[in-house]
């Protein structure tokens, strides 16, 4: 005997309730909020399908727009044209070649930027005078857009990899720096007293207390930095380069090969997303103790 018939599945009930809340009792604001909440619960449970569905809808709309207004391919290529161009660029190796260049720039810039920013941040977090002295310069450096400095760096360091890595490094530096300072400053004084009462050396304090305590905030900065580093590399390639995804976009634009521009942008998005989710994965692995990050809910 089937006790729980499909009609009474909690999701169906939630959807029905949300429709009821949203439309039947529209005037009451509480109903509106509750209805949206119920919808979000259902959507969140099936978020893969939600993302897939919205992506398909977007593609259909895109295709429809290109057809209805009969736009030429150099203004708006259809999804099929973009897919074909993507495949072609993939097969002749050009996409992979340029992707690898950008990836190297991003990874090298990220490593250098994270390294410098973490060291500087730790120093500034420990030394108030150093922070007071240097922070005006650091903040002022953020007021300058990277596109304004990029030409200078290219003049000084050439149009090869070095200038791009440098631009990447500078882009990543600030968010990591700030989050390192905030993270180290936020180490609870009571835990500092604990390790002090156990005669911990400075190195032990760093390893057993400061690193793990600052890690959540630091990784938050790394999430931002990872995505920013892609922007940094592409900005550098735009300004002056003969390689990389930014260069490929320039090529596509110059030849009115708009499908190639689209294909390259999609590759860039994939690159940024995979960097971002690598950091998220790192958070999941290292911050299991923290309720906000652990995958299974432990409430």
């Amino acid at each position: 005997m089937q006790i729980r018939s499909r009609r009474y599945s909690p999701d169906k009930r939630r959807i029905r309730n949300s429709v009821y809340c949203l439309f039947v009792c529209l005037p009451a604001p509480w109903n509106l909020i509750h209805g949206v909440f119920l919808l979000l619960v259902v959507l969140n449970k099936h978020r893969f399908w939600f993302v897939a569905l919205t992506a398909i809808i977007a593609l259909v709309v895109w295709q429809a727009v290109a057809w209805i207004w009969r736009l030429p391919a150099f203004i708006l290529p259809t999804p099929f044209q973009v897919a074909a161009r993507f495949w072609q660029a993939l097969m002749d190796g050009s996409l992979i070649r340029h992707l690898l260049i950008t990836l190297i720039e991003v990874l090298a810039g990220l490593t250098a930027g994270v390294g410098f920013a973490t060291l500087t941040g730790y120093w500034l977090a420990k030394s108030r005078p150093a922070e007071r002295l240097l922070s005006p310069y650091l903040v002022a450096s953020q007021a300058l857009p990277m596109v304004a400095i990029a030409p200078l760096l290219i003049i000084w360091f050439g149009s090869g990899l070095v200038s791009k890595i440098l631009i990447c490094t500078l882009t990543v530096f600030f968010p990591i720096l700030i989050n390192t300072i905030v993270g180290v400053r936020a180490v609870p004084e009571s835990l500092r007293e604990l390790v002090r009462s156990l005669h911990a050396t400075p190195a032990q304090t760093l390893r057993y207390l400061e690193v793990p305590a600052a890690l959540p905030v630091f990784l938050g900065g790394l999430r931002v930095g990872a995505t920013l580093s892609v922007i940094g590399a592409v900005v550098g390639e735009f300004v002056g380069s003969d390689r990389g995804l930014g260069f490929l976009i320039n090529v596509g634009r110059g030849q009115y090969d708009t499908a190639l521009v689209f294909a390259t942008i999609l590759t860039l998005i994939a690159l940024a997303l995979s960097l971002y989710y690598s950091v998220v994965l790192l958070e999941k692995l290292t911050l299991r103790w923290n309720r906000n990050y652990s995958s299974q809910s432990r409430s």
Binding site: V195, R196, S197, L198, Y208, L209, P212, W289, N290, R298
Partner: protein
Amino acid sequence: MEPILLCRHVTHTFPDGNGGLQALNDLSFDVCPQEFVCVLGPSGCGKTTLLRLLAGLLSPTGGQVLFQGQPASAARTGFVFQSANLMPWRTVLQNILLPLELAGGVDDTGRREAAALIELVGLSGFEQAWPADLSGGMAQRVAIARALIHDPDILLLDEPFGALDALTRDRMGSELLRIWQAQRKTVVMVTHSISEAVLLADRVLVLTPRPGTLAVDQKIALPRPRVEEMRYSADFGRLAREIKGAISSLPFS
């Protein structure tokens, strides 16, 4: 017996913009090896400050704290803080092993010791739990186990049972008594419970309201080994009443 811990005219003033906030004033007492001292006093009178001075976490602004003739920070202390103060990124077991790790490494003896302590504080089965998943009382018991693992010279306890219910509190009190009778550590313990102090201590110190100074230094001459039943003896009642009277006659701060 030669005192192991000396407090000589200890005064401590915290900086606070206008002239400083005096927490302790001219406090002098000695603690002998293996002695169990309880400190009582109204809230805010400087008990925690006193323990931090004894642990060498603070240096007194006046006077001296000496451990075996050396500055207090030289002693190997086990400190139980007023709040559990666990590292949230370490499991219960890892938190308890921390003092050993900082002292150079965990060997099999250390692991066995940790298992025994976990058993002792009644947390078997919670070795791999995260501190965020513990109740307040459980966390405090982890902190007690952590303070004992590295066999410290001196045990400093800041209201270690404050977060526990009355029943667990009495049980932990007896356990502490048992540990102390087995290992004979030097203990300085802050508490708010007069009967707990009388049951456990060799000496009870009562501090005045801030700035804290010594109001009463009462020897507790009850025989050892102490047991729970002594709470109902006539001597126990008399001592508890005396201390209660001394505290009641203190001025309000």
